[in-house]
């Protein structure tokens, strides 16, 4: 079993699908943090068989919208004084900003600098997002 006791104050991103931790590390820009960050790959899980975990040794502000988009089954545990004080469950965010880039070569975002890339959730059941500008669809 994994032990979080060693983390006094920080965040544990748990129940990441095995193999997805590195993409989450990149999406969240965790390489820019000063604190310790541990990536645990292929940890045993009763629920998932195998899972990845990321431990962050500080209470940083995470863009949960991004996490919810990548995988809404992920949980985020907030640790204080060595204990889990909050378990955050994620949902598919209604809007995501500057995470996806529209793949439509005719979209204004392909040429306009400084324009935020925004996608709106249009079908929560199927996880389908649509570019707010050109309406190109993207599946989460």
């Amino acid at each position: 079993m994994l032990n979080i006791d060693s983390l006094e104050k920080g965040l544990v991103i748990d129940h990441i699908k095995a193999g997805k931790s590195m993409s989450i590390y990149q999406f969240l820009n965790l390489d820019k943090l000063d604190c310790s960050v541990a990536i645990i790959k292929n940890a045993k899980s009763k629920k998932m068989g195998k899972k990845d975990i990321i431990k962050i040794d500080d209470k940083v502000d995470l863009n949960l919208d991004v996490l919810g988009f990548i995988d809404p089954d992920i949980t985020v545990n907030i640790i204080e004084n060595g204990k889990i004080v909050e378990k955050k469950r994620l949902n598919l965010p209604l809007k995501i900003y500057d995470v996806l880039k529209c793949k439509n070569p005719r979209c204004i975002t392909s040429v306009e600098y400084g324009l935020p890339h925004i996608f709106e959730l249009v079908d929560p059941k199927l996880g389908i997002y649509r570019c707010i500008y050109c309406e190109q669809e993207y599946k989460a």
């Binding site: 979209c107 392909s110 400084g114 500008y133």
Partner: protein, 305 residues
Amino acid sequence: MKYLIDPMDLTTQEVRGILQLAHEIMEDPKKYAHKCEGKKLATLFFEPSTRTRLSFEAAMLELGGSVIGFSSADSSSAAKGENVADTVRVVQCYADIIVMRHPKEGSAKAAAMNLEIPFINAGDGGHQHPTQTLTDLLSIESIKGRLDHLSIGLCGDLMFGRTVHSLIRAMMRYQDIKFTLISPEELHLPNYLLKEMKQNGVPYVETRQLEGAIDNLDILYMTRVQKERFFNEADYLRLRDSCILDSKKLSSARPDMIILHPLPRVNEIPNEIDKDPRACYFKQVLYGKYVRMALILTMLGESEC
């Protein structure tokens, strides 16, 4: 109403109000000849257009207003690398209302996000063209006398044809509308619109040929295969001739069917069809001017007489 980007920005009540005002202007244009005195319309056309730009300009001039603007990206600051957001922010300091056409899809949304004055999308790439939709609605209502209980055939480039996309969304809101979608496989209607029709319970059939598809239509809406939407000339040439309406095909259509086309046409409607009483595409151009007059008045809040 501040922005018109997509025909669905307008409620059916707002559409009704604009069409009603357009009918009133058609009946007595002189009554509206000075309604926009002292107001300026900016026409920002980043890609070529004859009828849409001139239609807006004629509409504003007939309302007593004036017009500023440019008719190609080369003659604007876009040639220096300025983005759309900055261009419209600058222009709003000079005008009371902006009309913009741009080749990129979603450019209208990007522009409107940065504006304080009324804004009308005059076509954003292959995406939306709401004033053509209002033109089409006014044409249909004026000629057919109704906007419901209609069987509508859409023919040609249904993939990149923004007029078709806008018209489908607008017509879906009226009762008992059926669509027949006539296009080559490569230019079929985008899936998101097919899905919207299904979700709204709007019946449609897809077919590849005009023959056999037009017999029971109330309206045949023709479109051109647009060269400017293709990255590849060979694909354009291959698909250009795929949906052509000729006298033989038209002979099986009902005598009260009407033929509409947003224009310009290339070869999809030969000149011989123009004399047929069912050909209404030049009347449609005139309806376009009146509906744009009604829209400008409505958006400037000048519609009360």
